[in-house]
Amino acid sequence: MRDKSKPKLAVWKFSSCDGCQLSLLDCEDELLDLASKIEIANFPEASRAVVKGPYELSLVEGSISTPHDAQRIQEVRRQSKFLVTIGACATAGGIQALRNFADVAEFARYVYAAPQYIETLSNSTPIAYHVFVDFELRGCPINKAQLVEVIGAFLNNRRPNVPHYSVCMECKRRGTICVMVAQGIPCLGPVTHAGCGALCPAYRRGCYGCFGPMETPNTVALSSRWKELGAANADLVRAYRTFNAFSEVFRKESVAHER
């Protein structure tokens, strides 16, 4: 018997690697609590049992990269009271948005023996380009503690504690030494959205920008500093053009150094 008092959760996949939705299954300690409070109604990665919509909460992973995706997201939106996008694909177009800087037909010709069967859009775009999104959870992949926080906030009818400031804030709070200042290592931390807990600098690596741009990114000033530290234009293009390449700020900054 279904417990009708519990809100229904659906997890949807678009163009993506599945890593973000697997974060939900990684929530081993919280999973039983979660299942007691919410009905996991549509989550093919976890169960074949599907409960019909509408759904109180939809988690959407992946970008829109095919005509079919573009249609399907409209249906998902119609069935969802709250729609939360999870991960860099859903929030910025993902690594597959690298096609947006090139000719996708050209790629298809190189990769597929019979490219005429490939039906794809010329651009990979974030979900919010197509439908209204209630909340975006960043990261490649997302941080599972933040996912639990977002679901917990939804269940308890409060605002999620998901700050939009820089990775530097997390670095300094954990006492990590700044790799850029002390080691001269180019780092995207000052322009990157927090959420990972400043993982890479803690292992003496510069930030790779997995969580996309922070709330007020000054990429122009950071790029200028990178150049002082020895980075070439090509290095800057590569740095901004990874998982969040099609986010507005990173896209513009990478294009600026392409010439």
């Binding site: 919280e30 609590d33 979660l34 007691s36 409070k37 639990v148 926080e149 679901i151 917990g152 906030a153 269940l155 308890n156 409060r158 504690n161 700050p163 939009h164 400031y165 820089s166 530097c168 804030m169 300094k172 709070r173 954990r174 006492g175 990590t176 030494i177 700044c178 850029m180 200042v181 002390a182 080691q183 001269g184 780092c187 931390g189 000052p190 322009v191 003496r204 922070m214 709330e215 007020t216 000054n218 122009v220 000033a221 950071l222 200028s224 500093r225 150049k227 002082e228 530290l229």
Partner: protein, 382 residues
Amino acid sequence: MFVLRHARLDDLLDALKRRGFTLVGPVVRDGAIVYDVIASSSDLPIGYTHQQDAGSYHLIEAHDGAFFGYTVGPHSWKQYLNPPRTRLWKAKGSANGFEIVQENANVPRYAFIGVRACELNAIAILDRVFLQGSAVDFEYRRRREHAFILAVDCTRPGGTCFCASMNAGPQARSGFDLALTEVFDNGEHYFTVVCGSERGDEVLGELCLEEASEPERQAAKHSIEEAGRHMGRKMETAGLAELLASRVEHPHWEVVAKRCLTCGNCTLVCPTCFCSNVEDVTDLAGAFAERWRTWDSCFTLDYSYIHGGNVRKTAVSRYRQWLTHKLSSWHSQFEMSGCVGCGRCITWCPVGIDLTEEVRVLRDGATAVTIGTEKGVPDAKH
């Protein structure tokens, strides 16, 4: 004034340990001098120093046997007195709402080893903020009241230091239990010791030290005076609070804002920045809640979000808020400057924005700093 031979530094540290203090002092980690728990003097950065400039920091092996031959790194004592994350309370749901869960977590009794004059002044500022006035901060007080402070005068100032300008160093003048000056003189290596409290006096009594001789006193005095003459930076402070208050519309704010990353690093390394955010967290079941206080920064948008919107949307307004609060409105709020001249905000700004330089330009009215000068970075291999 007494004298402690360098080989007896551990006698002093042991005396503190016997009194139940957890020793926290400078150590070398990941290419910088930071604060951490230490067991003995051998954990100190012996023979190390560092070279600092705007946006750059290099740890250097000086091989001189000095225990305290450096100034300050990215950490400050606020991380022990006002930790980055503090749980204020926790509660569990009950039939009639919720009840507070009592916590009896003991705060360690810290002995801070090697506190610099600028940092004594920073602690005095935090004391003013957290302990004086109508609202006393319980969390700060319970960490602060037991802390034993072993200060060390600076005899080798750093490239971004300007404590002399801020009248905050290089000599420890008050706010310590004991203060040392490390001296190298004619092949001798010793500390002169000054006592600043009854607790300090008791510890000193146990060590049975000799009085410092006149030449030893003179050597210590000379070392500190030399340090005062070799500050890497300086700031003209005469009339500064009033001057900055009249520079709200200065075109230089736009110039700084073009370089400013609004990343928040300057505020988190600043030993006097105390702003925080309070977050409530709940478990999934809604049966358990906690309230946490975390370091925040006036450079984040959420910090200046009030009902209806954000009051400091631009980098101009946020940088101006930070600089003028430190050097101007802090005076009207707390009757003192919020800056102690430690230079951390200069060194640890990823793009090397220099507070002393910005103040100079704001004072002179001329705009000298340009963005993207790509002036090059000092060689890392020393």
